[in-house]
Amino acid sequence: MTRSFRLDTAWDKALVKLAEEKGTSVSSLLEIILRDYILFYRWAEELDSLIFSPSTIKMLIDSLSEEELLELSRKTAKITFEESYLRRGDSLTLDTVKFQITEQMGKYAHWFKVDEFNENTHYFYIHQELGKKWGIFVQAYITALLENIGEVDVKSEIIGENIIININKGR
């Protein structure tokens, strides 16, 4: 369907220029912007989420011990995830957790890049560039998210600074 709205000419011109730079149409660009808003930014706004440069996060994380990171990642995983999915009106299922990992944390919140594989074995391959301690934090955080569902076995390992999270459904 087609939707029309009034737009300040400064932003309209900027949008046209940006669409040209991206080699796409203004219509396609607007649909992407709207999708990103519906899937992520409106919830980030509602949850009062904060945005940080990677270097700031790295400095904060590197100032904590590994024991502290493990403790606070497990604690925050449960609370922040519950807050997110309940606010969105979702329920606690494996699909909701997968959405949290791949879309919310991976695609939009930029915690890492993630690929999900589900053929012979089901696993997430997580690539991150903020160092060893961020890897430890993320590993514990995602393990806690998945264990929260109560119906999966989770095994994870760190390879270099990247993480493999194996999940086995039907515990």
Partner: protein
């Protein structure tokens, strides 16, 4: 490269094709917020042009307040002060340069505003009195105030060459030049 695009005050009509499910979500969101769909779309375009696209390009990380508060609880004030000063002295300059913007007072003020309006670090008001000042309202407690105070001190001193005075009012901060 475009950034910090200001409103011209004249409007035109823009049309686009949208998936029906997405449109339904948009209409539900407008109803929930008690605003028009047109208002949401125009605000969204402004936010995207001035912030979201940059956050995406520069791989900036989003944290929920609870996660930040847990970090703060585990870090002492000296460490937070050092991290604030170091990152305040460097990241705003990087942010401007990555946007193709000159490092000058006007653009640095836009960054300070962005930290409040989009990054949600604080609420900020500018007061152009006889002695101008900024007033920063913070809702993450004393340790976050320490971080912010050091961040802004580092920013002003090392990017603009200006010494500022910070006065703590509860967990809020008054900044005078």
């Amino acid at each position: 490269m475009m950034s910090f695009i200001q409103r011209e005050g004249r409007a035109s009509t823009r049309s686009f094709r949208v998936d029906r499910a997405l449109n339904n979500e948009l209409e539900a969101e407008a109803e929930k917020q008690g605003v028009s769909v047109s208002y949401i779309l125009e605000t969204l375009v402004e936010d995207y042009l001035n912030q979201y696209r940059w956050a995406d390009r520069f791989v900036e990380l989003t944290l929920q307040p609870h996660t930040l508060n847990e970090f703060l609880e585990h870090l002492d004030e000296d460490t937070l002060s050092k991290i604030g000063y170091n990152t305040g002295s460097t990241t705003p300059r990087q942010r401007l340069l990555m946007r193709g913007k000159e490092v000058n007072e006007e653009n640095v003020m836009e960054i300070i505003k962005t930290l409040g309006d989009y990054d949600n670090w604080y609420s900020i008001s500018f007061h152009d009195a006889e002695k101008p000042y900024l007033f920063i309202r913070n809702k993450h407690g004393k340790k976050w105030a320490t971080f912010l105070e050091s961040y802004l001190t580092g920013l002003y001193k090392n990017i603009l060459g200006i010494e500022i005075k910070c006065k703590r009012i509860g967990d809020n901060i008054q900044i005078s030049m």
